[in-house]
């Protein structure tokens, strides 16, 4: 209900002209009208009252805008409340003093031939000043609040869209061929009455559960992430055959460490897609994960398959470009990705910072 009301107020606020100068002009026109009605005598509004009101407003402007553009944005926004209160008080007194000075002295210089005096006592002018600084401060803060609400709404929308996109992307990352091949491998093991069949089914189940349900956050537990990668490699071994040398080394000290989810999957996928598949010579894939201080180093090495077709190479290119983009977003200037290609060997070295040792809630 409150949210609805907020949205309604926000919608109404958005109907106010967006140009800042127009908003200010409207405010001061309204202030001018109200003050003119206050200042005008019983005989009605005279030209002299208009001039007086204009000058009166002019004496308010420096203090009001000093508060709006300097004190609020540079002092209040930094939560220096005591200093802000002190400076605001000075500002209010300065407005009152400027008003007295203007009508006691300056009007004779600015408007010779006109006869003004300072009609209000200092205490009355302080009240005027207080009202105007109060109203303008509240307007400024409420405007900021509505902008904050708008930003929050946008963020919530973005997060939702992002989550949906991420889920969609993650689902697509599980290559259907990988699923079919894994199922075919399991089928084969079952036909052979292999004792490995239950273990492989469990690995596939664990891997899919992890990818589909545990990678929606910005960070995941490193142990779980590497365990899932290990499951993936083990499942790929079914497809690679006994001739392929597949090795994966996992670090021991991963407790409490966190990384962005599924960063390594495209690289491991590439090892099998472009190395094992279609190779005529010795095939190998070596994957090594090392924790070094606050960094994780991941090295991927595989032979280059001779029959890797044009489509596969393009997919690899896109996969690496996507990985680079993601790394730039996640670890701007704090990661290292080296890709090298020799005659028969393709190597990728990735170093990324690890997040703190505090375990994720619920993990």
């Amino acid at each position: 209900m409150n949210d609805m009301r907020t949205v309604n107020i926000y919608t109404a606020m958005m109907k106010i002209p967006k140009q800042r100068w127009l908003q200010h002009l409207l405010f001061w026109l309204l202030a001018f009208y109200i003050l003119l009605r206050i200042f005008a005598g019983s005989a009605g509004i005279e030209k002299i009252d208009v001039i007086y009101t204009l000058i009166f407003i002019a004496t308010l402007l420096p203090g009001i805008y000093l508060n709006l553009f300097v004190l609020i944005s540079r002092v209040l926004s930094r939560k220096r409340y005591v200093l802000y209160s002190f400076l605001l008080l000075l500002c209010i007194f300065a407005i009152a003093c400027l008003n007295i000075l203007t009508f006691s002295k300056l009007t004779d210089i600015i408007l010779p031939g006109y006869y003004f005096i300072s009609y209000y006592e200092f205490s009355d002018l302080v009240k005027f000043s207080l009202v105007f600084t109060g109203i303008t401060t509240l307007l400024k803060l409420s405007k900021g609040w509505f902008l904050l609400m708008e930003t929050r709404n946008q963020l919530a929308r973005l997060e939702k869209e992002n989550a949906e996109t991420r889920l969609d992307a993650l689902k697509k990352q599980v290559n259907p061929h990988f699923l079919f091949n894994s199922l075919a491998g399991i089928y084969s093991l079952v036909l052979q009455n292999s004792a490995k069949a239950p273990e492989v089914v469990l690995r596939l189940s664990d891997f899919l559960r992890y990818v589909l349900y545990e990678t929606s956050g910005e960070r995941v537990d490193l142990t779980k992430e590497l365990s899932a990668m290990n499951d993936y490699v083990e499942l790929q071994k079914l497809r690679a055959g006994k001739e392929a040398e597949v090795e994966i080394q996992l670090p021991s000290d991963t407790t409490g460490r966190q990384v962005a989810p599924l960063l390594f999957l495209p690289l491991i996928e590439n090892c099998f897609k472009h190395g094992i598949k279609g190779a005529s010579g010795p095939v190998f894939t070596k994957i090594v994960f090392r924790v070094s201080g606050d960094h994780l180093q991941a090295d991927f090495e595989n032979n280059i398959g001779v029959s890797a077709d044009e489509g596969a190479r393009k997919t690899q290119g896109i996969g690496l470009v996507n990985l680079r983009n993601r790394l730039d977003l996640l670890y701007p200037g704090r990661h290292e990705l080296k890709i090298s290609k020799e005659k028969e060997r393709f190597t990728v070295n990735l170093t990324i910072p690890l997040y703190g040792k505090t375990p994720l809630p619920g993990n």
Binding site: G41, S42, A43, E46, K47, I48, D49, Y52, S104, G113, Y114, Y115, F116, I117, S118, Y119, E121
Partner: protein, 212 residues
């Protein structure tokens, strides 16, 4: 019932036809009052009028804590009549002024009930046995009001019901004493603010002829 509740143009009794600046509020505060005993005496005006200035011993009644004896009774006599004013001598920004007030207007009770007491202001110069009184220039003030060049609380009051032109209106200042004083201090030295023409009916030069 008389003086405090009612309307009056303070100087009706004088021969002038209501061309003095009138104010509902006094032009002085208690702290501004100056009493000079040497001012008392009998004076002759440049227009053959007679002025008797005495100490006003009773409480003047304007300020709660005002002590009696700080003001003057001025008995003014011209060719036609005699009137009695209470006047306060006061100083603003080192300049002496006299605030005239008519506490007991004459006439029938019904007539008096139609009057409100008003204050008038004159700048005062004192020299050896001579007092020069320059009245606040109503003509100058009216001109400023008509030209919309002055801003001070006032009312335009129609005095002559048989006329419709501007001359039938007079200005009565309704500003509080504080504003009146600010205006006098700021613009009191304006060359036109106070009548200074020697032949003007609003400038009196009084010469002392006897001490009272």
């Amino acid at each position: 019932m008389k003086a405090k509740l009612i309307i009056l143009t303070a100087l009706i009794a004088m021969t002038m036809s209501g061309c003095l600046v009138k104010s509902l509020h006094p032009f002085y505060n208690e702290k501004d009052i100056v009493y000079k005993p040497e001012l008392t005496g009998i004076y002759l005006g440049n227009d053959s009028s007679s002025w008797e200035i005495r100490q006003h011993k009773a409480f003047a009644g304007l300020f709660k804590d005002e002590k009696p004896g700080n003001s003057y009774d001025i008995i003014y006599t011209d060719k036609k009549a005699t009137s009695k004013f209470v006047a306060h001598l006061f100083s603003l920004d080192n300049q002496l002024y006299l605030d005239f007030f008519l506490p007991d207007p004459e006439g029938t009770d019904l007539a008096v009930m139609h009057l409100v007491p008003a204050h008038t202001l004159a700048k005062v110069e004192l020299s050896n046995n001579r007092i020069t009184i320059n009245w606040y220039n109503e003509e100058w003030l009216m001109k400023l009001f008509n030209e919309n060049r002055i801003r001070i609380a006032h009312e335009r009051v129609q005095f002559d019901l048989d006329k419709k032109d501007q001359d039938s209106y007079q200005v009565v200042l309704t500003a509080p004493t504080a504003d009146l004083q600010k205006f006098i201090i700021k613009y009191g030295n304006d060359p036109e603010a106070f009548n200074k023409k020697k032949d003007s009916e609003y400038t009196f030069v009084l010469n002392k002829v006897a001490n009272k």
